[in-house]
Symmetry: C2
Subunit: 345 residues, 2 copies
Amino acid sequence: MMTRKTSLKDIAQAVGVSTTLVSYVLNNKKENRISKEVAQKIRQAAQDLNYRPNQIAKSLKLNKTRTLGLIVADIANPFSAALARVIEDEADRQNYTVIFGSSEESPEKFQKLTTTLLNRQVDGLLIAAPAGTESQLAELQKQAIPFVLIDRYFPALKTSYVALDNAQAMYKAVRHLINSGYQNIGLVSFNTSLFHICERGRGYRQALQEAKLPVRKSWQKEINNAHIASEVSKAIQELVLGPKPVEAIVFASNTLTIAGLKQLKRLNKKVPTDLAVVGFDEAEAYELFETPLTYIKQPVQEIGELATQILLDVLNSNNRMIQANLEAALVIQDSTRPVMTPVLL
Amino acid sequence: MMTRKTSLKDIAQAVGVSTTLVSYVLNNKKENRISKEVAQKIRQAAQDLNYRPNQIAKSLKLNKTRTLGLIVADIANPFSAALARVIEDEADRQNYTVIFGSSEESPEKFQKLTTTLLNRQVDGLLIAAPAGTESQLAELQKQAIPFVLIDRYFPALKTSYVALDNAQAMYKAVRHLINSGYQNIGLVSFNTSLFHICERGRGYRQALQEAKLPVRKSWQKEINNAHIASEVSKAIQELVLGPKPVEAIVFASNTLTIAGLKQLKRLNKKVPTDLAVVGFDEAEAYELFETPLTYIKQPVQEIGELATQILLDVLNSNNRMIQANLEAALVIQDSTRPVMTPVLL
DNA sequence: CAGCTATATTTAAACGTTTAAACATTTTAT
DNA sequence: ATAAAATGTTTAAACGTTTAAATATAGCTG
C-alpha cells in the first residue's frame, strides 16, 4: 500500500542506468555529453513514476535549503501580514520558500524562533526585531548568519536593513498639519526603545521646532504596547479634554491609530471639526471611520521586495550591505481639512 | 573564517568517542547503558561547541520533517491571518514548524503550492481549499498524503475537516433578525461553488421559510470574489434603493461585510435606523463603523487547534477521521436593534 | 575458571541527493 | 595505424543523522 516515493534510484532502475546519469539529466547538467535518447527515456520515466525531487536530501547535500526565515512582530497586525505576503511572493519568484514566525515583541520568543529557524537550516533571515534584541542580532552577525532587518533597525549595529525614513515621514505629517492651520498638535506613540519609533517622535518635534511652535511633553503620549486599548483611551481623553486640548493628533502606528479612532468615536469627537487626525500605515479599518483619514503610507511592497532581494544577493554572495530608509507617502484626506482662518470668515 | 557548524562528528572527536554514542546521549536514548561521566563530557562538549542538531539530516534519516504545510485562502484576510497564528502556536507547542502559502483562491496557485510543500517533505497539510480543487484533493488522498481541511470542505469527499456549521450560523443570524422584527432581509454572499458558502445561503433561506417569509431571488446577491468593491456597491445600492428595499442585510463574509459597510456609509444610510446589518466574522474594522455591529463570530481558535490536533494525531498514526462543524456565536449589538412595533408607539 | 550476564561502546549501513573523477567507447587527426 | 580528443556513462564518496547489530570489557555465579 503505502508506496514509497520514487527516488532517483527508482528511475535509474527503470531505465537501466546509474542514478548519476538520472541526476544529470533531470538537472540539465552535462547536457552536451548525454545522448538524446537516454535523456528522453529518463525524463519519460521520471514523469511516469511521478518523480518529485526530495528537497531534504538535496538540502543536506548542497548545504542550502532555499528557505528563508521570516520573523515578524505580530502576524495578526495587517502591516506584518502585508509584509509577509510580499516577501513570500518575492521569495517564491526566486524559488525560495519562507518559514515564518511571530515574536509578539518578546525577546525570549525571538530567541526561540531564531533557534528553531536556524535548526531548520534556513539560508538566511528576514527580521523585524523586537526591542532588546540588539545583542542577539550581534551574535547572529558574529556567527556569520546572513540576515536583513526589516522595518526596525539599530543604529549602532552595522547590518543591512530596509526600513522607513521614519523621522521624515512624521515630519511630513506634522508639517502638513501646520500648513493646514493646526498649531496644538499631539502625538500618540509608544513607550519603547525601538529606534524607528523614537525617530517618529523626533520627526514630530523637529517639525514643531522648525515652525517655532512649542513642544509640550504633555502632548506626547507614550503608550505601553501591552496595554494599547486602555492607555490610548486615557491618552486621548487627556489630549482632547485636558486643560490645554490639542487641535490635532498624529499617531505613530496603525494599532495606535485604530485604538485612538475608537476612543474619539466614543467621546463623540468629530473629525476634523473638533480636531484633525493623521493615521499611521494603512488599514482597511480606516475606511469605516466617519471621516476619510489622512495617513502616512508605508511602501510595504518596496520594503518587502528590497529586503528579500538584498538577502538573496547576499546568499548568492553578491555581497552588499545596504541600509535603506525608504520614503513614506502622505495620503491627504478629509481628516486634516485646512482650518478656516478667522480672516476668511 | 566561515567556520562550519559543529556536527555530531565534531563532538565525538572532541570527546574521543563514536558519533553513535554522542547521538544516543544527546537524544537520551539507551540512558541506562551509558556511563554518567562520558554522558556528561559529551553534553559539555556539545554546549562548548554550540552544537545545533541539523534538522535536515535528521529529516532525511527519519523520513519525517516535523513540518506542517498550511495553505490559506489569502493571508491578507484577517480570518486567514488569525487562523495561521493559531495553527502556528499549536504546532509550535508540539514542536512542529509551519510553512505556509496563500492560494489567492486560485486552483493553479493551489496546485503549485501543494507541490512546493510536498517537495519540501512536509509531514502533512492543513488546507483551506479554493473552489475547483476537489480533484486535486482526491489525488492527494489517493497518494495517502495526510491532510485536514479547514474552513472549507467538499461533502462528496471523505476527508477530515474542521469547519463552521455554516447553515446554522446563518440561520441563527436571520432568526435573530426576524425575532427583532425585520421581515425583508437581504443576503450578500458569493457567487461560488464553495460548499461552505452555499451552506450560508441555505441557512438564510431556511430561516425565512420557517418563518413563512418570502424568499426573493433579488434579495440574494451573489458577488464575484474578484470584484468585491464594485459588485458589493452595486448590490447594496439595489437592495436599499430598489423598488422593494430591504429592512436588513446579512453578509456572508468579512470582506463582504466591510465592503458593504463602506457603501452604506457612502449612501449615508443609518444603521439600524434605516436598516439593520449582521456582519460575518470579526474584524477590527467593524469597531470603527458608526454602529456597533451584530456579527457571526467564528471560533477561530477552536478551528485552528482542532484541525492541527487531528493532523498531528494522524501523523502519529492515532488514526482518526473527524469531520467537525463547530458552532458559531452570534454577537448581538446595536446594528440589529429590535424594531419599534406600531402597537407600542 | 568456564560460562553467563550486565554494562559500555563501536561498526556499518542507510536516508536521497550531488559531483569530481574514473572508465569505456567512438571519432578525429596525423 | 596510433595517439589524442570527444563522447557517454559509471564509480565512489560525501552531506549529518539514526539505529540494529556487533563487539569489548567487567562482574558475577557456581
